[in-house]
Amino acid sequence: MSNNKLECLSVSKLYEKNGNKIWALKNLNLEVKEGEFLAIVGPSGCGKSTLLKLMASLERPTEGKILLDGKELRDPGPERAMVFQYFSLFPWCTVLENVEFGLKMLNVEEDERRERALHYIKLVGLEGFEDYYPRQLSGGMKQRVALARALAVNPEVLLMDEPFGSLDAQTRNFLQAELLKIWEEEKKTIVFVTHSIIEAVYLGDRVVLMTSRPGRVKEVFEIDIERPRDKGSSEFSRVRSEILSSLKKEVLKTISSEYSLDLKEIAEMIR
């Protein structure tokens, strides 16, 4: 057996809305290795969120299959916990209740539940905020709660969908470093979607670049820079611009497709 934690085998996802058919993903193949920090970048609308939802079994692939430890996935499970871009905390629950939520659903006894929740609240640096409601917290703090909530069910895989995308630069840098620390301590496999190449290169063992819709894997970059990585180093910018130039081509395609023209049509119009 391989050391693949997750495998996507020619996964396709078709959405139908008001009679429109949209292939969000088409024949996507991807492996996520055990314990790896995998970053995924791609033009917006290329199906990154869709891919994570499929990995979490919150949606079913239209074609193909997704394996976890070699077994085909069907239903959501606590071994794959998700962190959403806009936190998606339960506004009627305190921080503590939010973090306890998954454990409650797993029927963990109240004492143990509390203990584990408090442990993860402390781990993400929110000690003392247990009784706060989400609305009383800043964006960065909310995302810490969401992270603690996901970690509390002790998942093997963390699926993170642009988790720091809506935060200010300072909070973002800080949380990136925190996340790496937690990843090293907790030995999780992480699939991290971002639209920031800098973030992807800073965090990832590998960076997967997706094509514009329908999403496939365009290119995979091994990031061999030693941690802690310096975003200002020349090595960092070299890797970054390599990914960037590849992404630029994809973005151009996205823009043209937004005006419902594909590149062939444009070429014909110019001729």
Binding site: G77, P78, A81, F101, M105
Partner: protein, 260 residues
């Protein structure tokens, strides 16, 4: 209530008293008479302030009759509206099917159902309860349905990701997430059902005894405007207490968690 409100109240009552006394017309009694009528209506002994002494002491029993009917109709109607709202979320095809019917029935006021209700239930309390149920049901259904629809997709996904499913998905996620809508639905429903029950009592003669609506109408028969006004005051204050103090309290308690 701030000092300015109290001041305006005082000025209002004082001018009313003065104008009414100078006109001396019985269809425009001064507030002092209204309050004396109110006491006479409330207290078991006839104080002699009413042109129809039979009404003396009737206020509290009438109020209780009204409350019994309205609360029964309100609970049944809101429970039914809420439940169907949940079913609408669970079965999208159900919502699509009944939506046009709901859209037509929703604007029909509860009072429009009184004649049918009378034919169906005669002099029993149900003749009042039924239109109240209807008046409560539709706002509750509409609010619950739109509340459930407006729950953020990601919130639902987050809950499912953390293992919420089956009945616990509803009890721990969907219903709490919809609570602000449910409470505002309750408040709208309450105001409809309160109005409907008073109106129904005015036109129906009920075996168990009339409520505030009937008492109100009787005082008008006797041209006892002071006691009619006293009863109107009671209707207003009771409606306000239940809406503002009971449901409003619930709303403030819930919303303070949501957004402060």
């Amino acid at each position: 209530m701030n000092a300015r409100t109290i001041f305006v109240f005082l000025v209002f009552f004082a001018s009313w008293e003065l104008i009414s006394r100078s006109l001396g017309n019985p269809i425009f009694p001064p507030p002092s008479k209204v309050f004396l009528a109110l006491f006479d209506l409330m207290l078991p002994r006839n104080l002699g302030f009413l042109s129809a002494p039979v009404e003396s002491g009737k206020l509290v029993p009438s109020l209780l009759n009204t409350l019994e009917r309205v609360l029964m109709g309100f609970s049944l109607g809101s429970l039914a509206g809420f439940s169907l709202g949940i079913l609408n979320f669970r079965f999208e095809s159900l919502e699509k099917t009944i939506d046009p019917i709901v859209k037509i029935l929703h604007p029909i006021p509860g009072v429009s159902w009184i004649p049918i209700s009378f034919l169906a239930f005669g002099e029993s309390d149900l003749a009042v309860v039924f239109p109240v149920v209807i008046a409560t049901f539709f706002p509750m259904l509409v609010n619950t349905t739109s509340g459930m629809k407006s729950v953020e997709e990601d919130l639902i996904l987050a809950a499912r990701n953390l293992g919420a499913k089956g009945i616990r998905f509803y009890s721990h996620v969907l219903i709490p997430a919809t609570l602000p809508f449910v409470i505002s639905g309750l408040r709208i429903s309450w105001s409809y059902s309160w109005r409907t029950s008073i109106a129904a009592e005015m036109v129906l003669s009920l075996a168990k005894g009339g409520g505030l609506g009937m008492l109100h109408l009787t005082s008008m028969y006797h041209l006892d405007v002071a006691s009619a006004m006293a009863i109107m005051l009671t209707i207003g204050v009771t409606g306000m207490v239940l809406d503002h103090l009971v449901l409003g309290y619930l709303e403030r308690r819930t919303l303070e968690k949501w957004e402060g």
